[in-house]
């Protein structure tokens, strides 16, 4: 039919899609603030700095994340742990930890670089701010609560999806379980941000536990 046939064909496509959408089949969008879409398990959302179950910070201030960052958006300055009240189980801890979220490309290379699982990614993605300064996340925002829950930007918002905080982030260590005796047979997945289920690295929890192993 030539032109007219092509015309009819094109018009039929849109009409079919309209019927599909109206009948509820073809719809691909959601009513965003009211209903949240299920995010993929390994969704790269905002970072958090995790803690051990006893409340100790996992970050040891080694700056490997900053070195791995292709966007150069992480700034870390380590400091020696105070002897009487240590912040982290090791010798040093992350004294200053800042991520510029405007530069971050959410590649998670920092997560792969981290030797202690201190930095992981969550499902949190609502990060709009009123000024550029607010887009630089400091330790205050990044560090999880002592009970292991990350800080939510809008915890009081009736539309906020707080299940983001506990949803499994599916984060997997770059240094996979294979080849590491201590993790034989243990899946390399953490169910959530924060404390996680996996035992800490050898030598990180407390010296006595290491001797038992």
């Amino acid at each position: 039919m030539g032109v007219l046939g092509d015309l009819a064909k094109g018009m039929a496509v849109t009409f079919r899609q309209m019927v599909a959408t109206v009948s509820g089949r073809g719809l691909v969008t959601t009513q965003y603030p009211k209903e949240m879409r299920q995010k993929p398990e390994r969704f790269h959302g905002r970072h958090v700095l995790n803690r051990y179950p006893d409340g100790m910070e996992k970050c040891i201030g080694c700056e490997l994340c900053a070195g791995a960052c292709p966007a150069r958006c992480i700034y870390v300055r380590g400091a020696d742990n105070p002897i009487d009240e240590p912040v982290s189980p090791g010798e040093r801890f992350g004294f200053v930890y800042e991520i510029n979220m405007l530069r971050c490309i959410f590649c998670a290379l920092c997560v792969e670089a981290c030797p202690t699982e201190a930095i992981t990614m969550t499902h949190l993605f609502e990060m709009s701010t009123g000024s550029r300064d607010d887009a630089i996340y400091t330790k205050t925002e990044l560090l999880v609560q002592p009970d292991g829950t990350p800080n939510h930007m809008f915890p009081d918002d009736p539309l906020a999806d707080l299940s983001e905080l506990s949803d499994g982030d599916g984060w997997m260590r770059a240094t996979a379980p294979q080849g590491r005796v201590a993790y034989e047979g243990i899946p390399g997945w953490t169910p959530s941000a924060g404390v996680g289920l996996r035992p800490p690295e050898i030598g990180q929890l407390r010296p006595a536990a290491d001797e038992e192993e």
Partner: protein, 374 residues
């Protein structure tokens, strides 16, 4: 004129104004909804039930926005152009009858009240003239902005208007000539008269037979004998209202926003308003001229105000169908290239309309005077 006529005229104009504003609000929302459905989206949902107040919210927002006047603009023309866009859009609607006339007894006098603001005996000429004035708004807005993209939009508008107005006019002439086939003395330039002539069916009065019975179910709408004129008019109407796929004038991807690039706030809103009023008016005109206007079944058996109400429903149902088609086309077809636009206008539509005009004229001449050799 008596006082009554004055009051009636004012009431009609105010009612037409209110109608057009309401229709625009619903039309913008409806278009966004339909396009969203065709793209598997939800569309506006937040303002009011199903987002129906979205247009009101947008209008309010535009109302409070800063209105910028570019340094290099021709200020007077620049400020005048938005009004030049809206006023013809309103004016054009005034000759369209939206329902069956009804009679009322006022002050002891029986008066027939038609549901159109003004029944001009040169209605079609008026429509063509006013729609040409509307193009000036686009051209002048583009030129007076003192900026290159609006100027390009304005130049495109000029070329497009000339090419498609010719086709549209020729299609309408064919219709006007054909409409006089049953009554050579009829005022076939008046929109109300054309609607009146389309009432009834194609059955021959007093005729018999199966074919005649079947023809009794076919409404006497002009679209059936004049389908070519309808097609040409429809295409030209889309081009005249600068709607996709003929929206070269504002082509966002090529020339930013075309003629309204430099307009903001309420001035931009007026162009927006004009576009949607034009869309509605063009649909209303197409319905009146080709689809029987407010005509429909059961009107004569009801009579009185009920018939008028029903006829309004028929009219809006038909207009809605055409408007849906407008939106459907916009959601489906990509924009024409400039040369394709010109080719379609000059090499396809105008010759088609001309040939169709000659054919219609011959048919009418044959029906009135018989064959020349007999």
């Amino acid at each position: 004129m008596e006082t009554f006529d004055w009051v009636l005229a004012v009431v009609k104009v105010v009612a037409a104004f209110g109608l057009l504003m309401t229709v625009t609000i619903l039309l913008v929302w409806g278009e966004r909804k339909v396009v969203a459905d065709m793209q598997n989206r939800l569309g506006p949902m937040r303002a009011g039930p199903f987002g129906v107040l979205q247009t009101v919210a947008d209008g309010l927002k535009l109302f409070f926005k800063e209105q910028i006047t570019p340094n290099r603009s021709e200020v007077v023309v620049y400020l005048l152009a938005p009004f030049l866009a809206v006023i013809p859009a309103f004016l054009m609607f005034l000759v369209v009858p939206i329902g069956k006339p009804f009679t009322m007894t006022i002050g002891g006098q029986v008066r027939e009240i038609s549901l159109q603001a003004m029944d001009l005996n040169v209605g079609l000429l008026y429509i063509l003239a006013i729609s040409s004035v509307a193009v000036y708004a686009v051209v002048l807005a583009g030129w007076s902005s003192g900026s290159k993209y609006p100027l390009l939009g304005g130049v495109r508008a000029t070329a497009q208007a000339i090419s498609y107005e010719a086709a549209m006019g020729l299609a309408l002439v064919a219709l006007v000539v054909y409409a006089s086939i049953s009554d050579p003395s009829a005022d076939t330039m008046s929109v109300a008269k054309i609607v009146e002539l389309q009432r009834g069916s194609y059955a021959t009065p007093g005729g018999s037979g199966l074919l005649n019975t079947l023809a009794g179910f076919v409404p006497r709408w002009n679209v059936i004998p004049q389908f070519i004129a309808f097609a040409v008019f429809g295409i030209a109407a889309i081009a005249e209202t600068n709607r996709a796929p003929f929206d070269l004038v504002e082509a966002e991807q090529e020339i930013v926003g075309g003629f309204h690039t430099e307009y903001s706030g309420m001035r931009f809103a007026m162009f927006f308003l004009a576009e949607y009023i034009n869309m509605f008016t063009m649909s209303a005109i197409a319905v009146s001229l080709f689809l029987g206007g407010w005509d429909g079944p059961f009107l004569d058996s009801l009579g009185g105000l009920a018939a008028t109400g029903l006829s309004i429903v028929y009219f809006f149902a038909k207009v809605l169908a055409i408007l849906f088609f407008f939106v459907w086309i916009r959601a489906s077809l990509p924009r024409f290239r400039y040369d394709q636009l010109m080719q379609l206008g000059w090499k396809r539509l105008i010759p088609t309309a001309l040939v169709w005009l000659v054919a219609s004229t011959l048919v009418v001449a044959w029906r009135q005077f018989g064959l020349p050799w007999t």
